[in-house]
Structure formats: C-alpha cells, structure tokens
Amino acid sequence: MNKRIYLDHSATTKVKPEVLEEMLPVYTEYYGNPSSIYSFGREAKKLVDQARMRVAKALGALPEEIFFTAGGSESDNWVLKGVSYANKNRGNHIITTSIEHHAVLHTCEQLEKEGFEVTYLPVDNYGMIRIEDLKAAITDKTILISIMYANNEIGTIQPIEEIGKIAKERNIYFHTDAVQAIGNVKIDVKAQNIDMLSLSAHKFYGPKGVGALYIRKGTKIANLITGGGQERGRRAGTENVPGIVGLGKAIELATENIDSYNEKLLKLRTKLINGVMEKIPYTRLNGHPEKRLPGNANFCFEYIEGESLLLNLDMKGIAASSGSACTSGSLDPSHVLLAIGLPHEIAHGSLRLTLGDENTEEDVDYVLEVLPEIVQRLRDMSPLYEKVKGGK
C-alpha cells in the first residue's frame, strides 16, 4: 500500500517525535524506581513530578490533585467505583448520560447490580443533554454526576460549565470524561467547577497505556488499585515513568498549540464535510453542527453498511472507523447513534473520520475523490438502494 491516510485520531494517535524524545532516556538512563532514595531513583521521581506539574498546568489544577493511571478506562472506573463506595452513606444515586464511553456505562451497570441507582440522561438529535433533564434528575441521594466533555463518536461537546455550576450549587461531585477533549478544548477545572476529570495520553499524541485522573482536593474517593504507597497512597503500582513523562510532554504540547491546532483542523473539516455532503446524496452529518470537536466528522450513508465501507477505504489507504455493529462485534450499532435517534438501519451505515496533526488538504481531496465512488459501488450492490433508484 502506497498511500496511508490516517483519519482515526479519536481512536488513537501517533506519538509525537518530541514526546518520544523525552521518553527515551527514561528507558535507558533514568530507569530507577521513583520510590527509591538513591540518586537515580530521585531523578525518576523528579521526572514524574515534572510531568505532574505539566498536567496540572494544562487543567488549571494543583499538582497534588493529579494522579497517574494506566489510561482513560482506569480513570473512569476509579471515579465511578471510588466515589460510589466512599459516599454510600450520603446516597446511592449517580447521574450520567446515555452516550458515555463504555468505560463509564459498563461500570455504571456494574454498580447498578450492586444496588446503586443510575440515571442515564437522554440527548437530543445533536447529542446534547438538556440542562432541565439534569436538574430534574437530581435527588437527595445523588452523589455523582458523570458527564463526558466531548463524545468520541459524534464529537458533540456538552455544556460543562453549566453542569459544573449546577453540581456545585447542589453539592454533588462532578466528574467529566475528558479523554476526547484534551488538546481540543480549553479546560479550567476550577473555573468550570469540575471535581474529577479523566484523560488518556494516546488520544493527544502521547503513549498508550498511561492516563491521569484529576481529583479536586478534599474529594472523598476510595482507591481502585491498592498496594504500595505510590501516588501519595492513592494508586498502587510502580510508576510507568516513561509513559508519565510522555503524557506530561504531550499534554504540554497539546495545550500550548490548541489555537493553531483548532484552526487547522476546522479548516480541513469544513472542506471535508462540505465536500461529502455535496458529492454524496442520502447522507447525514451526525453530531452538533458547531459544538463539536474540531477534528470530528461523522456521517451516515443510507443503504450501505459501515464495515464494508471501512474495508474499501482501507484498501485505498484510508484508516477510518464506524459505529456499525459489525466493527464492534456486537449485534447493535453504536449506542451513541441510537441515542441521537437514528434508526438501526441508518446507524449501521456510519463513518467517522477524525482529523489530526499530520493531515493535509491533499488528504481531504483524496477522500473526496475516493469516498463517493466507494459509497456508490456499495449502494449499487445494496438491495435497499434498488427502491430508491426505482423512485420509490
């Protein structure tokens, strides 16, 4: 394959050279255990502390409010279980949304089995929660509101500041899964009244297998992984020092360059969306028209199925993803696409293209050249499309 156009930055990203550069000496030189008191244990500790400061700065938090984890899923699990178990005496009710990542949803389902009650807020056709719904869902027993910052499939960005204000007024912990938001939107956990925030390095050009959880000072939360005294006794396990260093550098770059990155992606995405909508009939754009991640474009092409589309794109060197049931290995298409009101048959035909750092105008041109042909070819093969052609 000659061409390779990566358009799946919401799935994962390539580690930036500057990030890898900071990580490498950690493997070969500063390999000490940060808990050790000898010199190069202390060096390793210093590197971890520096990374912690970088994360804190990027979020408007204090360094002592940052805890490193193995990724977004661990961070989400920690919050949901940790807050639920530690605040049982105050209540057993959690509010979240129907479009969260599975790391939140499946953990909530687990908690329901254990006797907690969970409200899954619905969303509108754009994937937005309604503030009235949130207010109406709060009860005396509500201990946690967990609402994602930006959705990984359709890119819709929630009104985080408003949610934070309500949570604060009602004295309820507010967690946001910001795994998709870092580097794309400006975050200030204090101004936005966020009590906990999950992030994962590989979504912003850092390494896989490392993430962080911001926990506002004073928050009551039980540990998820118990053992050694690392992370000030809150998360056991020898620190993934190279990963943490990579995360620190990556979040620094991501937040420093946020404006130019946004501008670049928005330009490319506008071209992509306009081109697709113009060239391919029977197509819908999923997600909010403006309040969405700058790199996210999510379409449904009627009468065809997503996996076939992905395979054809892959043969043309284009890496993309779909909310079709076939790609997830489940029987139902994406819960997010169903939650925004799409019928199953339409949801099966979805395509997510997420732009990133290395994409160019040429990439978009290429997609616009290749995609319409592929869609047409699949439609010509589709028994559902016959009826359309036949004018029915």
């Binding site: 009468y303 065809i304 996996e307 029987l331 099966h348 028994p383 559902l384 016959e386």
Partner: protein, 124 residues
C-alpha cells in the same frame, strides 16, 4: 481478520446484480440487524442457469453471498438445497466467529430463492 479468500470475494464479488423476471427470488435478514441478502435465480429444467445477488452488510456478508452464488451456479436445485453454511465457511477458508451468522444467511437466502421458485412454479 478476514482470510484472503474472503477479501477476494469482497473486493471482486461474483454475480452481483439482479435478474429481470427471475424464476426465484429470496431475501433474508433485515436492515435493523445490518444484513440483507437478496438472491435472484434463473432456472431451466431444475438447473440453476444464472444467479445474481445484492447484499447490504459487512465484508463477510458480501463474501458469503458471492461465494454462495458461485457454488450453486450450474447445479440442480436438489444440489443447491444441500448447500450448508459450513460449506460456505470452508470455501472461504474460514470466517471470524462473530461472522459465522453471515454464512447462515447465505444458506438461507439460497433456500428462500429456491422456495420462491418452487412456489411460483407449483413444485411443492
């Protein structure tokens, strides 16, 4: 994920299309589940002279439809009725576990088309 054989049938599916005035048409699956297969048969003296298909579905759905049409073309309807999903899977050098149902659909689509033929021609 997919065998070369599957990818071959997916990228160059055999017998795609429709047959006008087909002697038998079978459609199985439903859009809600993300798979529909439709098979058209041209039959003379109980022999399948021509077969075409249209499929809405994943790579495996397309490939199983394609190979199934190849496997029954030129066969008697008796022989075609013996087509099993297992034979389809084997002919494709295997399918991932979560895609086995596509081969079942292919078998069912062939049977439904022959059924339709029989019904229309009072062969039952």
């Amino acid at each position: 994920m997919y065998s070369e054989k599957v990818m071959d049938h997916f990228t160059s599916p055999r017998n795609v299309g429709e047959i006008e005035n087909a002697d038998g048409i079978g459609e199985v699956g439903n859009a809600k589940c993300g798979d529909i297969m439709k098979i058209y048969l041209k039959i003379e003296n109980d022999i399948i002279k021509d077969v075409k298909f249209k499929t809405f579905g994943c790579g495996a759905a397309v490939a199983t439809s394609s190979i199934a049409t190849e496997m029954i073309k030129g066969k008697t309807i008796e022989e075609a009725l013996k087509l099993t999903n297992k034979a389809v899977v084997e002919a494709l050098d295997g399918l991932p576990p979560q895609k086995i149902h596509c081969s079942v659909l292919a078998e069912e689509a062939v049977k439904a088309a022959i059924e339709d033929y029989k019904k229309k021609h009072n062969k039952q």
